[in-house]
Structures are given as C-alpha cells and as structure tokens.
Amino acid sequence: MMTEQASINEQLVLTNREGDKQFLTFMMAEEEYGMDILSVQEIRGWEEVTAIPNSPKFVNGAINLRGTIVPIIDLRVRFGLPRVEYGPLTVVVVVAVEIRDNTKVMGLVVDAVSDVYTINEETAKDVPEFQGSENSFFVQGLVNVGEKMVVLLNLKRILDLDENHNEQLVVGG
C-alpha cells in the first residue's frame, strides 16, 4: 500500500519536472501524433456537420457545441493524406487554441485516440526538412516514447486558416 502510494507520488513528481508536458496522442494513417493536452477541451464522436460553402477541402463543416458554432477540420485532409470513411472509432478532438489574440475552438477529426504521455519537450527533435513536404510546417518536433515515435503537432499553425498569414510565418520562420 505504502509503496504504491510512493510510486504514485514519484510519478506526480516526475510529471511536474520542468519542461515536462502531457500530450494526448492519436492515430492517423498508422502514425502517432501528439498535441498539448491543455489545448484539448473534449473528445466527441463523429456527428453530422453543416457544410460551410466555399471552405477549404479540409473543413468538413460546423457543428453546434452547446450553443457555439465549432468548425470541424479533417486532419488527414489538412495533412494531404487520403480521406477515410468515418467509423465508430472516428473521433473529434475539440481543441481551443489562441490564434492572434483570439481563442478559437475547433474540432479535429482523427482516426482514433491513443494515449497520454508525459514528454519533455526539450527531448523533441526537429523535423528533417523534406523537399516538397508542407506537413513539416505543422510539426513541432519528433519524440521517442519507448520504441514508438510520436509527432508533436503545432496546433496554432494547423488551426490558423488564414493562408496569407501562414505564408508569412514560413517566410518569417
């Protein structure tokens, strides 16, 4: 009993170590992606959306989240991956991210939620630059958790739909 308590304490201490953050990970096309758990508001199942005319292809539409209109983004399409049929495991991760002084709430469609890891951000490695791959723009870094590799996402860039601004970011960054 005591030892159990001690180990829990130890874990708590571990999670509080400087630079440690908790990441929610999810699966998409056999890859594991992680996002800062503090950005995650809730996880929902897939539901019918209302289409938004002339929106980018990765925007499925909008849902009513307890009175707030929340756009839903298909992360696969955003990353240029092939679209899949939505099934019972399809989840919508609702995230709140501050984009240019406004907190935006959006839903991200992913294949399945995977796990929660405590990761020290400093151990994350930069993404190798691939020619012609735009996706590295959305990636904050790569980390190893045990045997697995997790791609940490830059939600701000993923949710910032203002293309012009993104271009500026690329030029600036």
């Binding site: 209302t50 289409a51 938004i52 005319p53 909008a62 009513n64 707030t68 406004n102 959006m106 293309e163």
Partner: protein, 692 residues
Amino acid sequence: MSIDLSQFFDVFFEESFEGLDVMEAELLNLQPGTEDSETINTIFRAAHSIKGGSGTFGFTSVTNFTHVLETLLDQIRDGRRQLTAEHVNLLLQSVDCLRGLLSALQAEEEPDLTESSELKAQFDRILGNEEQTLQSEPQSSTPEAETNTYQIDFKPHSHLFKTGNEPLYMLSELAELGDLETHAFCDGIPSLDKFNPEDCYLNWRLYLTTTQGQSAIQEIFEWVEDDADIDITLCGGLFESEVPEPQAEQSEAQVQNAEPKPSEQASKKANTAANKVPSSKKSSESTSIRVGIDKVDSLINMVGELVITQAMLTQLGEQEPTEQTLTALQEGLAQLAHNTRDLQENVMRIRMLPISFVFSRFPRLVRDTSQKLNKQVELKLLGEQTELDKTVMEKISDPMVHLVRNSLDHGLETPEERIKAGKDPVGQVTLNAFHQGGNIVIEIMDDGKGLNTEKIKSKAIANGLIQATDDLSPEEINELIFRPGFSTVDEVSDISGRGVGMDVVRRNIQSLNGSVEVNSAPGVGSTFTIRLPLTLAILDGQLVNVASHTYIIPLISIVESLQINIDKVSTVGNGLEVLRLRDEYIPILRLYKLFNHDGAIEALDKALLVVVESDNHKVGLLVDDLLGQQQVVIKSLEANYQRVNGISGATILGDGRVSLILDITGLIKLSGLKRPGSQDLLMEKQEEEVTT
C-alpha cells in the same frame, strides 16, 4: 471591523461617469446669457454627487477639484455671477479632467494632478475676483476673508458608519481648511463585551482656525447632518474649553447658518440619492448594463402571462381527454409558443441599447473641433432610439469619431467659403441611424464641398494605386480613399491626418462584419454609410433548402418568393440569367453554384426564386424549396472560424443542427454582379479569387 468601502467603488465610478456625462450634455446646452436655472441645477447636482461620493471614499483629489467647480456653479445658480462662455469652456475642460482622474482611480493608478491643479488655479482666479464683488454686496452674514476660529462639536450618532460615512475623511477635509485642533472624547466607549465594532462611540470637539466661512465647514458635514449632532460656533480663543452646549441651541445654530433654500434642497436630494446607492446595490460586476425599467416591466408581464398559460395547461392536463379538451390544449400550446417567443425576444433586447449612447459624445466633439477649425457647424442627430447590441456599440464609436472629424475637417468649408458658394455659413453634419434588413445603418452626412475626385485620382496615380490610363467612375474614385496609405491632406492638421486613414476605419467596420461606403457630390456634400449586422440579435428568417442544405434568408430582405416563368428569363452578357418581373429585370443567382453544392434542382421552372433586396438592388436567389419561417438567434461563425463570403452568421435550429444565415450584400458581391456604375465589385471578386 471596518466596512470594506471598495465594494462600492464600482457603483461610485459608474454613477460618477454618468454624472459627468450629464454635466457634459447639459453644459453643451448652455448658452451664456440665456441659461436656464434647471440646467445649472442639474449640472450642480451632478457635480455635488461626485464630490460627495469621492469624499466618502477618500478620493480627495476629486473632492478638492469638484469643490471649486461646485462653488462656481453655486454662485451662478444663485445669480451672484453671470455665466460666460469662458465658464462653460472651463467647466467642460473640468469634466474631461475629472473623467481622467476618475479613470485613473478606477484603474487604481495614481492620478495625474497637473491638469486639475491648473484648472483649479483658473477657477480660483475667477472665484478670487468674485470674492471682492461678493463683499461689496450685503450677501453673507459672516465675513469671509477674516481669520476666525470656530469651535465645532461633532457628535456622530452611533449608526454613522452604517450610512457609509467616515469621520476621518471629514476631519482631514477640515484640516485642509486651516489649522485644526482635535479633541476626541472617548467616554462613550463601552466595556469590551458590550462593544459593537460597527457602532461609532467617539465624538469630537474641534477648533478650526481658518479664513473660510462657516458655510465651508458646514458643507463638509453636509453628508452627515441627519446622522450626527453638529454644532459650529465662532469663538475667540483657541483653548477655550466648555461643556458641549445643549441640543436645542445646536439646532438653532443650524437653522441660523442654513444655506439659501434652493441649494439646501439640491444638496439634500443629492445626499439622499448618494446615500441610497450603496445600500441598494450590494454587489456589482465588472461589466454591467443599464436596462430601461420598461424592458424589465415587460419581461415581468410576460413571465406572468407564461405562468397563467402554464396553469391553464396543467388544468387541462388533469381533465378527462375529450375532443374539447384536446382543442383547448392545442390552443394553450399555441399560446405557450407565443409567450416563449415574446419572452425570448425581450430577453435578447436587454443587450440592446439605443445608439444615443454613441451619438451623445458627438455634440462635444463637434463643438470642440469646430472651434479649433473656426467653422460653424450644426449637428443633427436622427434615429437616436435605434437599438444596437452593446458590443457592437462599443466598437463602432471610434470609426464614427474618425468619420465625423473628417467631415468637419475636410468636408465642411469655412464660413467665408460657404457664403461665397451661396450656402448658409453654418454647416450641417447629420448623424442618422436606422434599421434596414437585419442591419443597422449609420449615416454620417455633411453638406460640405464633397470629395475632390480630381485630387484623389492624381494622388492615387502618384501612389501607384491606379494607372493614369484607368477609366474610373466618380464612385470608383471615391472608393479609393479607403485604400491603405491614402491621404489627400496636404498638411497634417491637429484634427485629422495623423496617419490613421480611412483604411483603418474600413477595417474596423469590416471586423464587425459591416461595410462602409461613401457617396459624394461636388459642392453638395458627402455621405458615409456604415452598415452593421446586429451580431447578437434575433432575426426573422426564412428557411430554404439548397441541395439538401438548409440556409436562412433574413425575412426582412425578402421581397417575394415565386415560381419562375421560364418564358420571362433571358440570358445576357456572360451567362447572367435575368428574370423579367413586371417592369424590372431581376438577375438570378444560382445559390448552389455560388456555394459549390451538388444535387440541387437546376431547372429554373422546377426551383423557386426568392427575390431579395439589398442597397436598392434586387436579385433572385434560386433555391430548391422553401421550408418554414422561424426566429433565429444569430451566432458568430467568425468566432471560431473565419469570415465566409455570402454568409453573415450561423444559427442553431430546433433539432440542434447548425444552419447558416445568408448575407445578401455579400452574396451579390460573391456573384460578381456589377452594381450600376461600379466596377469595384467585380474587381474585388477577382482579387478574392486570386487569394483563395
């Protein structure tokens, strides 16, 4: 235990700012020579309340400053002094200064006292002059300029603290009048077990040596007159110590020293009003909204009706189900629906405030600006009761200030120029607000010289905005002033042209999902028209079906809905279909095409046409079907997403689904339809296509 006065700060600030607004508005009404005593009284009362409140809360910087203001007003009110234009200007400056002081205090910052002390010196100068004229008149019974020593017996009643008063502040205020010697009598303090920390047990005997008159002392105690025994007597020696005098004489002394009647009444009024405030509002929130009592009354009425309906339904539910009760039940439900809708509408109205809240700042602005520019301006306000959401209101005032300043600076001519042009030397600026098609429209009109198209054009060519060879209509040229980095001012003046251009105005308005446009005629004047959506408003909507998507068309912009007679449709130009409806040609917008939806009815004679109007421009929207009409609550799509062309917002339908609300003006833009005499829309559409 002392009462935490800070909990009343918000109320105090709110009341004070309101008081300042009142003062400003009334001051602007004042015409020297023809002033009306009620106006002066109103100003005096407002100043007095602020002084009293700030004294209670220990904001001495405000108290001291308001005091001189009040003295001047008091003299004008009593007819001891003639109101001059200088006074009005000084008082207006003081209102600004007080606003600054109070804002600093509200933000818990150290207020900057330089301005107030400068103004105070000016007041003192005026009042100093007065002192002499006053003495020549046999007005006051007590000599004012001599140094006297007063003995003041101040015996607060035990409940003094509960009225929100603090003797310490009064004593320190007294000390500012001259040399103060205080003797506190502690004999009233009971033994500890009987001690109630919320009672006042102390009383004081004070000796004040001052050049000020007795009335100045009385004024300090004005707020506690009813809550304390106060006895002020003139005495010779400083250390003369006597037993406090009996009650009867005290009241006599008070009567003797009473101020002239009207001011007494006024201060009493202010006194009770100020005393009421802390007790009636126990808690206050960081943001509050003032709601007209009529709105609350109507809500209460509606809830009453709702309760009656509910009782009726309950009663019906208990009866045997027969044909008759069923009919009655249906009627009852219809009534319930009616009640609910009314209630919803009225609750939403609470957030709506009349636009006079914004308009009210313009008389002052116009007065000050026209003085600086040496122009004569008459400001007209129309549609002040038009209601607008509070959040929109807060954001629209800055762009409006800019536009009004522009009208005064660039639009209106000097009186000489106007006379030369055969106009009235007094220029007109009109602000007009009204509702139109689910939008609020605010017009800023002037009868000045209008925009100088030649100048704008040459400037635009110089800035590379357009080519010299471009053939632009006057409207298109006028539109150029909204482009970034555009200014026609040759010299940067104090009023405008400080680098904040019309592009910022347009951007601010667009950030509210609104639009601004200009109409101008040389020599006749310019009109700026701002269109804003009522972001948080209920809208009567027509639900329509387009390729199994449900959209909402604001009912107010719908002219009619009809089935298309294919014989009357002709195609013009680049594939634009036009329906001849009576003696008009209505362009047909195929919504499914604009929105890239598949599966819609494409045959014109199978679909329905909803004719809508925007900016006196009619178009027909092609839809599959009309569904129902419904009141919808507008929700922002932009909050979490972004602006969508042709969509003004979203709403949630009865079944929880999201439905988008069409923005008619935006749709016309999106379709690339050319408005008569404007090429700009097409150009903008092409620009958008390039960016997306």
